[in-house]
């Protein structure tokens, strides 16, 4: 159960893993996620299901090494198993024939937006994908996204590849300023990136869907750790989301809540790195 079938390094600190899980593979849809727990003392972390193979009974996850659990996960090898794998969780992305859609992903969020791109393309949309990363070396899934998009724009913060700049401003310059009509935008990535995109699309009155990455514990709606404020109402990201209308999300609250355990996360990671937590 939950065996690691494949493992690949996509960039310096982003890892792709294929996990054995026939039930989740069969059931999952774009936009959904899993919760995993590595071992008895581990924490539960949410990760998006990037892809699945029903025949092989596998799902794919992509994660960035940002702390103890992701570092531990990255250190596992093909053949190792995760103690717990729960899913698929959350509402699937609302896939329909919208017309021309723009999918914007940043950093490891490119992995999260990828299944949405695939599903939108399959539903007959004209898909413009804009993906960005800090540098060329940290860009992921370029080939896969190109194959599933009508057009792909790549950006890097340092200009080492593609267009120099942030995905948000490049989206404005390369698509909106050129007068192209856009029916819907999907954007997933770091909070500042989603905020920037939503600010632009709000001006242009383009409905924009974001996928939120709140802190989660159970992810089945029983605790409210992942609560966010959407259009003035408290929503639980795990059961009401993870996707919401970006123009209604209180991103300041989301950022504040994401910072809640910073010190403890750092403590756990430092202990792990120096090997003094026994793992």
């Amino acid at each position: 159960m939950n065996k690691i079938i494949e493992k690949a390094s996509l960039s310096e600190n982003i890892v792709k893993m294929v996990l054995e899980s026939p039930v989740i593979a069969k059931k999952r849809k774009a936009g959904q996620f899993i919760i995993l727990k590595i071992n008895e003392k581990g924490e539960r972390i949410p990760l998006t299901i990037v892809d699945s193979d029903v025949q092989k009974g596998t799902i794919t996850i992509i994660f960035q090494i940002v702390g103890k659990t992701t570092a531990q996960l990255a250190a596992l090898n093909v053949g190792d198993s995760l103690q717990d794998l729960q899913g698929p969780l959350g509402h699937p992305t609302e896939i329909a024939h919208y017309g021309r859609v723009v999918c914007i992903g940043g950093g490891v969020g490119v992995g999260v937006v990828y299944p949405v791109i695939v599903a939108l393309k399959k539903a007959g949309n004209e898909v413009i994908s804009i993906i960005g990363s800090r540098t060329k070396a940290s860009l992921i899934l370029e080939k896969e996204i190109r194959e599933n998009s009508d057009r792909l724009i790549v950006t890097t913060d340092d200009g080492s590849y593609g267009i120099h700049g942030f995905v948000s401003s490049v989206f404005e310059q390369e698509v909106l300023d050129k007068g192209e009509h856009v029916d819907r935008v999907f954007t997933i990535g770091p909070v500042p990136m989603m905020v920037a995109v939503c600010k632009i699309t709000k001006l242009h009155r383009i409905k924009t869907i974001v996928s939120l990455n709140s802190i989660m514990v159970d992810a089945t709606g029983m605790c409210g750790a992942c609560r966010v404020n959407v259009a003035g109402k408290t929503k639980f990201t795990c059961v009401d989301g993870p996707e919401f209308d970006g123009h209604d999300v209180d991103f300041d609250l989301l950022s504040d809540r994401l910072r809640m355990y910073c010190d403890m996360e750092r403590e756990a990671y430092e202990k792990h790195k120096c090997g003094c937590d026994g793992n």
């Binding site: 729960q86 029983m222 409210g224 408290t234 403890m264």
Partner: protein, 471 residues
């Protein structure tokens, strides 16, 4: 019938106290507070039972434990036999002996209680179950011939564990699907270690596994598979025992600030994820110094006592009514008071105040007074105008109740719910609006007790057996 003479004679032996960890010491650890009876004390207490021919205590027990019989066995020093007797009707005796509100159930009906103190049935139940577990001689009844029918149970809480145990003993092929990574429901995520050691829940779940119950964890019914997909997989009946696990918030300003937890989150982090052992365990929890817990039920008591053990200097209960109306068990309130918990009665939060980082630093409250009794006879709290004040807090736990989780009703067509989202059932058997689907426990009644959920599991087991026997 007992004569007046014997009654007087038995009354001479007082109800035996159970030793407890010293309050000063126990607020520094998560170990169990009551330490249990010794063999000698158990026998003394068991001998107090006058063995009524028509025992009220059994009528007071939602799962009809054969109380006089098992107590007689303890009185005679036959402890293992007593445990087996308990298990004939109760799959979780070590749990029930600890967390049941016996004062409202079996012990309330004990004849000795009319004039003195009732027999300590809960403590004796706990003693027998612990004795058997510690002896390492847990016996498993002989396997039952399979009857070829399959039943799925959604949720491994008290109702689900009970129905699974009952049905497997009747020859059904039973699979429990549990969303979390551990079985037990509220027994593992909600009730803290210091009231119910998790090793005990694990042992009782293990016993059910040995009986032949299959338990699939990490399986969210409605997401991983829907109930209709379970029927398509060949299940003949489904029982829904998923509890009322969705937290209620008060929807007051500032409630989403950092360091404000639902009791469910606070307790899940601490109990299920063992965040109190961070960083040995990976899940973090905020160790507040000034912790306010809003609410007056058992969950509030569990939360505030957890806060103390996590190092709080002030651990406060904020409750809008008075101590008399508090729904928590008296024993838990007593424990909390011994441990130094402060009780701010007739107080209600209005708003939370945060700092520039979005963390809570204060709460604005208002004093209340009790008004006229409402339709249910309970006196409603009414705010006292102008009595607002601000308290310093750095952590808040909201323990004002829970409600139904909508995942199963939303993914099961034609499954009727009431206006609060709880699943509607026809009668006590738990039959829902859909043929072959039964429900019981908190998902039907709203938050209640462990033993009532077990009673609902028992009734549904009988109903499912009747339904499938005729099929």
């Amino acid at each position: 019938m007992e004569t007046k003479e014997t009654k007087v004679k038995k009354e001479k032996v007082p109800r035996q106290n159970m030793p407890e960890q010293d309050p000063k010491k126990r607020i520094r650890n998560f170990e169990e507070v009551p330490l249990g009876y010794s063999e000698k004390t158990a026998i003394i207490e068991a001998k107090r039972c006058i063995q009524c021919k028509n025992p009220g205590c059994v009528r007071g027990c939602p799962v009809d434990v054969k109380i006089p019989e098992f107590i007689q066995q303890i009185a005679e020093g036959r402890f293992i036999e007593a445990a087996l007797k308990l298990k004939e009707t109760n799959g979780l005796p070590a749990v029930c002996g600890r967390v049941c509100p016996q004062e409202d159930q079996c012990e309330k009906e004990c004849i000795l209680g009319k004039k003195g103190e009732p027999v300590a049935i809960g403590r004796l139940e706990r003693f027998a179950a612990d004795y058997e577990r510690n002896s390492g001689k847990i016996s498993i009844p002989p396997a039952v011939k399979p009857n070829g029918k399959k039943v799925a149970v959604a949720g491994a809480g008290p109702s689900g564990l009970t129905i699974a145990g009952d049905l497997v003993k009747l020859g059904y092929d039973v699979t429990i699907y549990e969303a979390l990574h551990k079985a037990g429901g509220v027994l593992v995520y909600g009730i803290p270690e210091f009231r119910l050691p998790k090793a005990i829940v694990e042992a009782e779940v293990e016993y059910l596994r040995k009986l032949g119950v299959k338990i699939e964890t990490n399986f969210v019914i409605g997401r991983t598979k829907t109930i209709d997909e379970l029927f398509a997989d060949g299940f003949d009946a489904v029982f829904i025992g998923v509890g009322a696990g969705a937290p209620v918030f008060m929807n007051i300003p500032g409630e989403n600030l950092g360091d404000i937890y639902s009791a469910n989150e606070y307790l899940t982090r601490s109990n299920l994820m063992k965040a109190y052992l961070f960083p040995e365990y990976d899940t973090p929890i905020v160790r507040g110094k000034k912790v306010a817990v809003v609410g007056g039920g058992n969950v509030a008591m569990d939360s505030v006592r957890t806060a103390l053990r996590l190092g709080a200097e002030r651990a406060m209960i904020i409750y809008r009514r008075t101590g008399v109306e508090m729904p928590a068990r008296q024993e838990e309130v007593h424990h909390a008071k011994e441990e130094g918990v402060e009780f701010l009665m007739l107080t209600n939060p209005l708003e939370y105040i945060g700092n520039s980082l979005g963390r809570v630093i204060g709460m604005k409250c208002i004093r209340m007074e009790l008004g006229e009794p409402d339709a249910s006879g309970r006196r409603s709290p009414v705010p006292i105008k102008g009595s607002e004040f601000v308290m310093d807090v750095d952590t808040v736990v909201v323990a004002v109740g829970t409600m139904a989780n909508p995942i199963i009703p939303a993914t099961t067509p034609n499954l009727h719910t009431n206006k609060w989202g709880y699943i509607s059932t026809h009668d006590a058997s738990g039959l829902t609006s859909r043929k072959g689907i039964y429900a019981g426990g908190d998902i039907v009644t709203g938050s209640a007790t462990v033993i009532l959920a077990m009673g609902a599991g028992r009734k549904a087991a009988n109903a499912i057996h009747e339904y499938l026997s005729g099929k």
